[in-house]
């Protein structure tokens, strides 16, 4: 139980590394990748903090966030595709 806050901090660094990929990513596909990475690590952070603070409500937040990550990824791809057709 002592280790959990450190795990959450490390997962947050993982999400920040995704921002580096967003900045450096040559193609738009890399930026979509980073969105998927940040979504997954945020869900993991929510699970870890949900256990550390014994707040089961955070698991529902993680569920909603997982759905939002899926929808935002589909939206990214849809807007990127429609942007190129003349």
């Amino acid at each position: 139980m002592i280790l959990l806050p450190y795990l959450a901090t490390f997962l947050l660094l993982t999400a920040l590394v995704g921002l580096i990929r967003v900045m450096r990513g040559p193609t738009t596909a890399d930026r979509m990748l980073a969105a998927q990475l940040i979504g997954t690590s945020t869900v993991a952070i929510l699970l870890v903090i949900g256990v550390a603070t014994e707040a089961p409500a955070l698991f529902d937040v993680a569920l909603v966030f997982a759905i939002l990550a899926a929808i935002s990824l589909a939206a990214f791809v849809a807007t990127a595709r429609s942007g190129h057709q003349p």
Binding site: M1, L3, R21, D30, L47, A74
Partner: protein
């Protein structure tokens, strides 16, 4: 610290190691397609282990089912998202 706590936290640490592998993979791999492997597989397994550790620590059947649902959702959206991103990266050469 009962055995249950130690096992749960241990599995979560292992999941975090897979997250580290996925993140290093995203930074170091040469092109977008190989990075897709990192984000859809390594992070997925990391999340599966963290969800397993969480359900062990939470020690409740309904919560374990909810965490399993979260993992399945991320796995499916990762797979579908991976295909969408790969098709997009294949089509446009911008």
């Amino acid at each position: 610290m009962s055995v249950q706590d130690i096992m749960g936290v241990g599995i979560m640490v292992l999941g975090t190691v897979f997250f580290l592998a996925g993140t290093v993979g995203i930074l170091r791999f040469p092109d977008a397609f190989s990075r897709l492997h990192a984000v859809t597989k390594a992070d997925n397994l990391g999340l599966a282990l963290i969800a397993l550790g969480t359900s062990i620590l939470a020690a409740d059947g309904f919560t374990a089912a909810k965490l399993f649902l979260i993992w399945i959702l991320i796995a499916v959206s990762g797979a579908i998202g991976g295909h969408l991103i790969a098709r997009h990266a294949l089509r446009d050469k911008s």
